[in-house]
């Protein structure tokens, strides 16, 4: 299923999202498959977790039903039972088990909008991006599993990054490494960029993830196209 997670729904955490879809399916009367055990939960697997606060414009998940139901019907019924900001865009029936979505994801594209609190010119933004991307490595601090601080190089995970100015709003687009083989978060990239560029930006920013990609052969493809 491909769905949208925007508006107030972008604040639903990963765990709560599972619950929300489970409840929506029950409201919609869809026969969701459940895991066994004392605390059964619906069999839904998400392609790539989305951090709280980021709008997802084309998110992906697999869900398992216990009966065969036409895909367009599932999409409509589920969509009608979801809270504000969540909407199912399309459902396709998988032929056989296939590879897990989570294992397929290689990269994700993002859009950022940040409000400036001082004068910035298009040229300054272009230069700042240029010098940011020309760096050999972009080290940020991360915590490892034991809670220790380690340095992590973001640069290899930034595949594309560009930006433009729209009045007092800086708009940045980026494609970042995503998935089980390595993950670069948009907030990390943005923070590192704003820190090094010293562009005058205030408060929070609006973050959007607009697509997820996989690699088929040597070719990059939308997750949906495979």
């Amino acid at each position: 299923m491909m769905y949208e997670k925007v508006g107030p729904a972008r604040f639903i955490s990963h765990l709560d999202l599972l619950r929300t879809f489970g409840r929506a399916a029950r409201r919609a009367g869809l026969p969701l498959a459940f895991t066994q055990g004392f605390n059964p939960h619906p069999k839904i697997t998400f392609a790539a977790p989305l951090a709280v606060g980021i709008s997802g414009e084309a998110e992906f998940a697999d869900l398992e039903l216990t009966e065969k139901i036409p895909a367009p019907f599932v999409a409509r019924a589920l969509s009608d039972a979801l809270p504000e900001g969540l909407r199912v865009l399309e459902v396709r029936q998988l032929k056989g088990a296939g590879p897990a979505l989570m294992a397929m994801v290689r990269s994700a594209s993002y859009r950022v909008e940040a409000k400036t609190c001082g004068p910035v010119t298009a040229g300054e933004l272009k230069d700042a991006l240029g010098s940011f991307l020309s760096r050999q490595e972009i080290l940020v601090e991360r915590k490892n599993n034991e809670g220790k601080k380690v340095l992590y190089d973001l640069r290899p995970g930034i595949f594309v990054m560009s930006g433009r100015l729209d009045n007092d709003i800086i708009k940045i687009e980026a494609e970042l490494k995503t998935g089980s083989s390595g993950n670069v978060r948009i907030e990390e990239v943005l923070e590192a960029f704003l820190k090094s560029s010293r562009l005058p930006v205030q408060g929070g920013y609006a973050l959007f993830r607009n697509n997820l990609y996989t690699v088929a052969g040597k070719e990059k493809k939308m997750l949906w196209q495979t």
């Binding site: 925007v6 508006g7 107030p8 729904a9 604040f11 639903i12 955490s13 765990l15 709560d16 619950r19 929300t20 489970g22 409840r23 929506a24 399916a25 029950r26 409201r27 969701l32 459940f34 004392f38 605390n39 059964p40 709280v52 606060g53 039972a81 979801l82 809270p83 504000e84 900001g85 909008e113 409000k115 709003i169 205030q202 408060g203 929070g204 920013y205 609006a206 973050l207």
Partner: protein, 620 residues
């Protein structure tokens, strides 16, 4: 909002605070009415964080009633957590309601629910954050009317300076009547003073600014009298006659983030017949009114469909007392277990616990088992009129362990009237006996757990123990240490609450109007979220008392004489004073009073005073 890239201030701060879903709104079944099409707008304010407030059934009931009307709307607001408060204050963002995101100042009424005394600081802080003057006298015509209800409204005096209108008792019918009057007056564009006076004439409504309070020279409360003709001397609680026909929220809001009670809450009855002498709810919600099993099952089916929840909790003050509990649980599971629906029963009693019932309940999900013996010896349980016996508890927990439960929780109270260390030893003895049962039943040592929770007794207004002093703070702490030392055993977990918090709760639970000044000071000193151990600071409260020239011990540790005037005496629960005196005397004599469900009427007076009758759904 959808798809918009609006970077307004709220949108900017939401990503920077913990759990932003608390402030985002847009949940399933939330109602966003067109602001302009209604005449009167109410914000329901819960003075605690979202996850706590959204677990409150009363909110869902009133939200449904007000939003069903074509001329009114209700939105919700909760106390912002401290990180959000900081951001809001920094940016000058006034407190707003979740649905329209409009500031509270835009509403005609802000209605607080008072579920526990330690949320009072949040009431004041929320008014501050909304830009609404705290003192009712300083609120001129344009400001929203500040209303409050809920169990703590039964001793309204500590909040009397800040609340315009208290609604005493059950709100289902009272809210509609109040709204009708307020809408009429709004059309007539009357003054605030007139509006308050008209409200005060409604049954169950208390307008504290229309009363004068007198104190004795020594400082103790003397009397409270209406300052205008036509304002009632006593305010009698409102009560819904029949729960089957009472308004019922068919489409409750389903939070998108996990809340404390994240399940369907279906009230199977209101009230309780047990008559535990410490229990305020047992008095306030009299008489017992059960829903018919047909009603419960029909409502449950509707709620499963409209919410999609995976669990339903049959709520009441003592659900295992419900006449039809087995039948209802079985029917619910027969019908809905295939949809993955589990059933849970809060607050089981050890004396009517049945293994079959417990087994039914765990057909889908295993929930934890909790019993509340409240006291460690039979003598003290007789004093408090908690009829449960040691054997009941032993039998119930033994059966539970044999059926596969590995953990049980036992709730006790310490500091009860007449308690000695022998009663504390009784708690230790029971804890060990239950642990031994678990071992005998073959529960693996690593997984066997007996949780003992001890809260400190707080004497509450309108109960048989309302005249009793609270055990002094230092003595409560000694009792906690006493138990703590003796409950250090593998498999036993001992929890207790901060005794300082219970001490303050006791001061406010039986406080008078002068405590308003203390409350205001405390909020100025930074007190808020006092029910949360990470925020509660006794020192700040003691400082607030000191600055006001009052002593919390004069309230918490005072023993009232039977004939002494009580600051909450003008509020009438329907239960007679004579009954409470008799119950108190019986307690001191260690004698129990029967259950009015199964034995003769103990004559509490509620049915005759309020012209209501207990409703039973018929026994098994």
């Amino acid at each position: 909002m959808e798809g918009k890239t609006e970077l307004d201030f709220l949108e900017q701060i939401l990503p920077l605070v913990k759990k932003p879903a608390r402030y985002a709104g847009g949940e399933w079944n939330a109602v966003r009415k067109d602001w302009e099409t209604v005449e009167y707008r109410v914000a329901f304010a819960f003075p605690d964080v979202y996850e706590v407030g959204m677990s409150h059934l009363g909110l869902q009931i009133l939200y449904d009633i007000v939003n069903r009307r074509s001329d009114t709307l209700m939105e919700r607001v909760f106390a912002p957590w401290t990180d959000m408060e900081e951001k809001m204050r920094e940016g000058g963002l006034p407190l707003f309601a979740l649905e329209s995101r409009r500031p509270l100042l835009d509403f005609d009424m802000v209605a607080f629910t008072l579920q526990y005394e330690m949320s009072f600081s949040n009431v004041l802080n929320m008014l501050d954050l909304a830009g609404i003057p705290r003192d009712s006298g300083r609120r001129t015509d344009g400001f929203p009317l500040i209303v409050a209800g809920g169990p703590c409204a039964y001793n309204p005096e500590p909040l009397a300076d800040f609340i315009d209108v208290f609604v005493i008792g059950e709100g289902e019918e009272a809210i509609g009547e109040l709204l009708d009057v307020l809408i009429k007056l709004k059309r007539q564009n009357v003054s605030r003073q007139e509006l308050l006076f008209e409200s005060a004439r409604l049954p169950g409504v208390y307008v504290p600014s229309l009363y004068r309070v007198f104190y004795h020279e020594g400082g103790r409360f003397s009397r409270i009298v209406p300052s205008l003709d036509g304002v009632p001397e006593r305010i009698t609680k409102r009560v819904v006659r029949n729960l089957d026909s009472a308004p019922f929220p068919e489409r409750p809001i389903v939070p998108s983030t996990e809340v404390v009670h994240d399940r369907i809450m279906l009230e199977v009855f209101r009230g309780c017949t047990r008559g535990c002498r410490f229990c305020q709810a047992g008095i306030l919600y009299r008489p017992v009114r059960e829903r018919k099993p047909e009603t419960v099952l029909k409502q449950a089916a509707g709620l499963v469909q409209s919410t999609g929840y995976e669990e339903i909790s049959l709520t009441s003050l003592s659900t295992s007392d419900y006449s039809q509990v087995r039948k209802v649980v079985k029917s619910l599971l027969d019908k809905h277990a295939c949809q993955g629906l589990g059933v849970s029963l809060p607050s089981l009693r050890a004396d009517n616990f049945s293994v079959e019932l417990a087994k039914e309940v765990q057909r889908v999900r295993r929930s934890s088992l909790t019993f509340a013996p409240e006291a460690g010896t039979q003598r003290l349980r007789d004093v408090i009129n908690k009829g449960v016996k040691d054997e009941d508890l032993i039998e119930a927990t033994g059966a539970a362990f044999r059926e596969g439960w590995k953990a049980v929780k036992l709730y006790f109270m310490i500091g009860l009237p007449t308690e000695t260390d022998e009663d504390l030893d009784g708690i230790v003895r029971l804890a060990r006996a239950v642990l031994t049962l678990g071992r005998k039943a073959g529960v693996p040592r690593g997984r066997l757990r007996v949780t003992i929770s001890a809260s400190s007794f707080v004497p509450k207004a309108h109960t048989a123990f309302q005249w009793e002093p609270q055990t002094p703070l230092a003595e409560l702490q000694r009792k906690q240490d006493y138990l703590s030392e003796r409950l250090k055993e593998k498999g036993i977990v001992f929890n207790y609450h901060d005794a300082g918090l219970s001490f303050l709760e006791a001061a406010f639970a039986r406080g008078d109007r002068r405590l308003g000044a203390v409350l205001a000071r405390a909020v100025d000193l930074g007190c808020r979220f006092d029910g949360w151990s990470e925020h509660f600071q006794l020192d700040r409260w003691l400082e607030a008392f000191r600055l006001t020239g009052l002593d919390p011990e004069d309230y918490a540790n005072h023993r009232y004489a039977y004939d002494e005037p009580l600051p909450w005496g003008h509020i009438d629960t329907g239960v007679s004073r004579q009954y409470l005196v008799r119950e108190h005397q019986l307690a001191m004599a260690g004698l129990v009073t029967g259950d009015c469900r199964t034995e003769s009427c103990p004559g509490c007076g509620v049915c005759t005073t309020l012209e209501v009758e207990p409703v039973f759904a018929g026994g098994d």
